[in-house]
Amino acid sequence: MRNLFLFIWRNYFIFLFLLLEALCVYLIVQNNNFQRASFVNSSNSISAGILEASANVKEYFYLKDANEKLAKENAELRGKLMVSFAVSLNDIHTSYDTTFHQKYTFTSAKVVNNSTNRRNNYLTLNKGSKQGIKNNMAVITSSGVVGQVKDVTDNFCTVMSLLNSKTTISSKIKKDGSYGPLSWDEGDDLSMATLHDIPTHVRLIPGDTIVTSAYSLTFPENIMIGTVESYVQKSGQYFYTVKVKLSTDFKKLSHVYIVTNIMKDEQEGLEKKSETDGKTSQ
C-alpha cells in the first residue's frame, strides 16, 4: 500500500493530468447526453449577465436592419388583420373564432449570445422557464427557421441552432409537398443546408421554396426554411440530395420568436397510446 502511494506521489503529474482530463470528458459527455441545463453554461447567471451587456451594445449596430425587418413584418401582419378583411370578407369574420382554434402561441425573445462559426452552434435567448419556455420548442424569426430550445433556466434558454450537426428538421418542397429531412452537413457554409431523400420524380427548379412539413411536433407547418440552390442524384441512389439556401441570416439574429405548440402534449399522448395499444393487442 505504501509503495502504491509512493508510486502515485512520484508520478503525481501524470495522475493529476489524467484526473483532470477524465473530469473534462465527464463534463463533455454529460452535457451531450442529457438535455438539461448544466450548471456551467451560458445560461449561468454571471456569464449570461456579461454576455447580455455585450449583446446590448452589439444590438445598436444592427438597429437599422432590425427596424426594417420589424417594419416589414408589421406591414405583413397589418395586412392579415380582420380590419383589412372587413369589407370584402364580411361573412367569414364571425365564423373565424369558432372554426379555427389556436394551436401555436409565439413568445418574442432577444438573442444574447450567438455562435455561427463552429461545427455545432448554439444561441442563448433571454426567456426561460419563468416565461413558460420548455425544452424542444421551436425558434423562428420572421425570415425563417432558427432552431430548437435545448436547455432552460429561470430566465434564459439555449437554442440548438440549425447550424448544428445534431439538428434535423422535417421539411418539404412547398409546391408539391414531397418531404425529407434537412440537416447542416459537412461542407455547408453559413447560408447553406442539405435536404435529403427527395424522390427523383419531383421536378426541382432552383429557387423552389422549402418550408417545414406538417410532420413535426415542434415546428408549425409552412415556416420558411430557404430556397433550392442546386441538386444532385448520387450514384446508386434513387433520391436527390438538395442544397438549400437558407432564408435566415444567422449572423444578424437579434429578435426571434419561440413557438409553443399548445396541442403537442395531446398529440404526443395520443400517438403514444396508439403505439402501446398496438403492441399489446398483437
Binding site: C24, L51, T116, Y122, E186
Partner: protein, 172 residues
C-alpha cells in the same frame, strides 16, 4: 514574485475578456476560429509548479467554456497543453539551460525560439479542441484544415500581442 502573480492574474482576465468579447465576435468563416487566450498558458513563468500548470489550465479552459457553451472542451485542450508544456520547454531548452528570472517570451529568447515553441502548443491545443468538438473521424480532413488555418491566425495574433506587450515592458 508578487508582481509576477499580479501581472499574470491581470493577464488572465484581459485575455479571457478579449477572447469572449472581441475575438468570439470576429467571424471569418467556419475555418478560422483563433483562440488567443492560449497565450496565457504559453507565457506562464518557467518556475510555475507542474501541478499548478494543470490546475491553471483547467480553470482557464472552464472559464472560456462558460462563455462558449462548450462544457469541458476548452478545459480538456488547456489541461492537455499544460501537460505537454514542460516537455516542450525541455526539448527547446538552450544549451546552458534557462536562466533564473527568464520568461518564455520573444523578448528573452528571440523570435525563432518563441515561434516554434508557441506554434507547437497552439497546434496541439487547437487539434484537441476541434477534434473533441466534432467528435467523429469521418470529417477528419476538414477538421484538420480548421486546425491548421485557425492555428496560423492564433499564432499571428499571439506574436503581434507579444510585440505590443514587450514594448510596454521596455519602457518600465
Amino acid at each position: 514574485m508578487v508582481n509576477t502573480i499580479g501581472r499574470n492574474i491581470i493577464r488572465f482576465f484581459v485575455l479571457v475578456l478579449v477572447q469572449v468579447l472581441v475575438i468570439k465576435n470576429i467571424e471569418l468563416g467556419r475555418f478560422v476560429n483563433p483562440f488567443v487566450y492560449v497565450l496565457f498558458m504559453i507565457v506562464l513563468p518557467f518556475e510555475t509548479p507542474k501541478w499548478m500548470l494543470l490546475i491553471i489550465g483547467f480553470v482557464l479552459g472552464l472559464t472560456i467554456d462558460m462563455f462558449y457553451d462548450t462544457m469541458g472542451m476548452h478545459a480538456a485542450a488547456c489541461v492537455f497543453i499544460a501537460f505537454v508544456r514542460p516537455s516542450v520547454l525541455n526539448w527547446f531548452s538552450p544549451r546552458e539551460g534557462y536562466e533564473f528570472g527568464m520568461q518564455p517570451t520573444i523578448q528573452y529568447l528571440g523570435v525563432p525560439w518563441f515561434l516554434s515553441y508557441s506554434a507547437i502548443l497552439i497546434v496541439l491545443h487547437h487539434f484537441v479542441l476541434f477534434f473533441i468538438e466534432v467528435f467523429r473521424f469521418s470529417e477528419f480532413f476538414s477538421t484538420l484544415l480548421r486546425v491548421i488555418i485557425s492555428s496560423i491566425f492564433t499564432l499571428l495574433l499571439v506574436v503581434v500581442s507579444q510585440y505590443l506587450f514587450n514594448k510596454k515592458k521596455e519602457e518600465e
